[in-house]
Amino acid sequence: MGQAIDEILKEFSSDKRALITILHRVQEKFGYISAEAIPRIARHLKVTENELFGVLTFYRAFSLVPKGRHVVKVCLGTACHVRGGPMVLEEFERKLEIKAGQTTPDDEFTLETVNCIGCCAIGPVVLVDEDYHGHAAVPNVGQILKKHQDPEPRRA
């Protein structure tokens, strides 16, 4: 992993301005910012690990733990809220037997909430990886999960 991180870092100068962009790239590539990545990025940008940690924990886009193979994001923007988004979230929590922010033990799904993805007209909206599901409701949560489930479930 260290080598792959260095590959990314090569594209950037040591200008601190690139900090968030670099974090985006690492997050995108590995699904999280690993303990290994932090000192490398800090060294490259000549900032302290402390400062880097402060920035990365400030923003919601970065995670310190790996995510599941599929990331389910339930939109809780205002438009989705008034149309029953919270009920949809609860159904995901029941079906996956985890709470928002957690990952299933078999690493298949990570459940997250998002504060509006700008598809308010078709709310409640659920985003699984890059697939948008509009007009989500409690009865179709099962179908949404099924569509993204691995064909051969890997048992934990």
């Binding site: 301005r17 985006h24 400030f58 923007g77 205002t78 149309r83 079906k95 509006c116 308010c120 948008y132």
Partner: protein, 612 residues
């Protein structure tokens, strides 16, 4: 350039894409080819059309026929009937609520009829990934005029005379902002386009970025000339990947055609634009936080003054405007201040885009002249409330705004009128609520939001929003006390006066407006332990009425937790201990039967007492 007799404009905004519009486009292209029409008919993907709820949408040009909610199966029929036989397909057209006959043409549909498109002029009309199409509709003509025929002072005078005000929410006069930055000492100077659209329920900026990215670039070059900036940043919210992609393409194409970069149009003027992606923090929409974020730091706001116009990015003079503001600029330059200021009210000129969402029939993005009434927006354009329910409130301005009741429906929308009513214009979210929405729950929702998004730098916001949220949560859980209302008011006052940035200063607005207009709902929660709208879970219970239940098994099959038992044609029974109050049984019970009752207050206690 090749001529086609028909253009099929497929909407490729995020909402339509999520309904499968790219697949529709592919299918249309295939079908057109199969019928050997590829030299006569062109299929184009456009930016967001606006009538998002009706996606996937296809407009047939030049007739202006509007097809909606298309499926892949509809494609062969559409091509055969409309394009070969010349018979528009009625079945695929839009039928207004409560009517039977479809409205074939887009311009005749109520949703579009009352709109006035300035910023969204190119929506659903051009392919946002082709600079040629933007140019074909007079794109970059205003920039050429500004670069060749106008001095910086003249540009600013024009923008000032037009009366353009910031569309991000605060409504600061744009010309004045530019002038301050132009006069500020220090180089280089920077421009920023604020596309960190964080208000939940608002997506106009995303739509403009996706549908007409060149309009933003053109506006920024004009602004750069006025201020004397050579570099601009377009800050785009992390949740908007399609907008990032479209702006990237636009920058690349504009540079390749000499419309951006070095020596623009051979005038010797240089301007570079760069995209910066946000990372998911609501507070970064605040201008000083946004600049901290561009510099690679935590998005912490700071004290103003100094204002960004004097000391912004890396301490240099920086002019920051919202996406919609930038998109207004080219038209003001090309058509003139007099034209622009003829639209709107005394103090608010031009148009405003609203995202009309929530419990409304025609959901989508609308651009209307300032001064239009809320009633016109909600009932004429929006087609009224879904399922013939009663209108309760409209929430404007996102977490910084407020909820306005039916009595305020005739309010003419502009910056001053909205703030007088206790809300704000904000970025333009307009969330319509009906009788089934609880206003205490809505206030709790927003305070939960601001409390989570508070950056924590100043105490009144960090602690105050938390306290407000805790009190509101208590009330929605039936643990409210009469003294809570006073506490909410005094806490709100502290948070408003003591917070450092706009996030905290406006955070109490949802509480204050709901208390002002819907105090009775708070009192019902506190005094009667009742949620009149039937939303707050702790205060409601569901029950199946044995005298009404026909035993159709619908609720039983749909209950996610198996709380309902019964057999076909026998009365069903709901087990309260298992019930999670998701409301599915209530929703699926046939309208003619209505055997599921939602109980609150005394009714709930009585039903529980009887063991039903």
């Amino acid at each position: 350039m090749k001529q086609y007799r028909s253009h099929l404009l497929v909407c490729a905004g995020t909402a339509c894409v999520s309904c499968g519009s790219f697949k529709i486009k592919e299918a249309l292209e295939k079908e057109v080819k199969k019928r050997n029409l590829q030299d006569e008919v062109l299929v184009i993907a456009t930016g967001c059309n606006g009538f998002c709820e009706r996606g996937p949408i296809v407009m047939v040009h030049p007739e202006g026929i509007f097809y909606q909610r298309l499926t892949l199966e509809d494609v062969p029929l559409l091509v055969e009937e409309h394009l070969i036989k010349g018979r528009p397909v009625k079945r695929l057209m839009y039928v207004p609520p409560a009517e039977k006959e479809p409205v074939p043409k887009m311009k005749d549909i109520e949703f579009f009829k009352h709109q006035r498109l300035i910023v969204l002029r190119n929506r659903g009309r051009i392919d946002p990934e082709k600079v040629e199409e933007y140019i074909a509709f007079d794109g970059y003509a205003a920039m050429a005029k500004a670069l060749t025929k106008m001095t910086p002072k003249q540009i600013i005078a024009e923008i000032s005379a037009a009366g353009l005000r910031g569309r991000g929410g605060a409504g600061f006069p744009t010309g004045k902002k530019w002038e301050t930055c132009r006069l500020a000492k220090g180089t280089p100077k920077y421009l920023i386009c604020n596309g960190d659209e964080g208000d939940p329920g608002a997506y106009m900026d995303r739509s403009v970025l996706e549908a007409d990215p060149h309009a933003i670039l053109e506006g920024m070059v004009i602004g750069a000339k006025a201020i004397g900036a050579a570099k601009g940043f377009i800050y785009i919210r992390n949740e908007y990947p399609l907008a990032v992609k479209r702006v990237e393409i636009a920058i690349r194409q504009a540079k390749a055609t000499g419309l951006l970069g070095q020596d623009i149009l051979g005038t010797g003027f240089d301007f570079e634009a760069e995209i910066v992606q946000g990372a998911g923090a609501f507070v970064s929409g605040e201008e000083t936080s946004l600049m901290a974020s561009i510099e690679g730091r935590r998005a912490y706001p700071r004290q103003r003054p100094p204002y960004p116009a004097e000391a912004g990015l890396w301490g240099r003079p920086t002019n920051i405007n919202n996406v919609e503001t930038w998109a207004n600029v080219p038209l003001i330059i090309s058509r003139g201040a007099a034209w622009f200021s003829s639209i709107g009210t005394e103090t608010s000129k031009g148009t405003k885009i609203f995202s009309l969402v929530g419990k409304i029939n025609n959901t989508g993005l609308v651009e209307v002249p300032m001064g239009i009434t809320l009633r016109q927006i909600i009932f004429d354009i929006g087609g009224g409330i879904k399922n013939d329910k009663k209108f309760k409130a409209v929430q404007t301005g996102g977490p910084s705004g407020g909820c306005l009741p039916a009595e305020e429906l005739d309010l003419a929308v502009d910056y001053e009128a909205l703030s007088k009513a206790g809300s704000i214009m904000g970025s333009g979210g307009m969330i319509v609520m009906d009788e089934d929405n609880c206003m205490v729950d809505v206030a709790r929702y927003f305070l939960n939001f601001t409390q989570e998004e508070s950056c924590g730098k100043c105490v009144p916001c960090r602690v105050g929003t938390r306290q407000l949220k805790d009190i509101l949560t208590r009330i929605t859980e039936g643990r409210g006390e009469p003294a809570d209302l006073e506490a909410l008011l005094s806490l709100s006052d502290t948070v408003r006066k003591g917070s450092l940035c706009g996030l905290g200063q406006t955070a109490p607005n949802p509480v204050l407006t709901t208390l002002r207009y819907f105090r009775d709902e708070y009192e019902a929660h506190i005094l009667e332990k009742k949620c009149p709208a039937g939303v707050c879970k702790a205060l409601i219970a569901y029950s199946i009425l044995p005298e009404k239940c026909i035993g159709c098994l619908l609720c039983l099959k749909n209950c996610p937790v198996g709380a309902i038992s019964g057999e076909f044609k026998k009365v069903h029974v709901l087990d309260r201990a298992k019930c999670v109050k998701c409301g599915v049984c209530f929703d699926v019970c046939p309208a003619k039967v209505r055997a599921v009752a939602k109980l609150t207050g005394m009714d709930k206690d009585r039903a529980q007492g009887s063991g039903r």
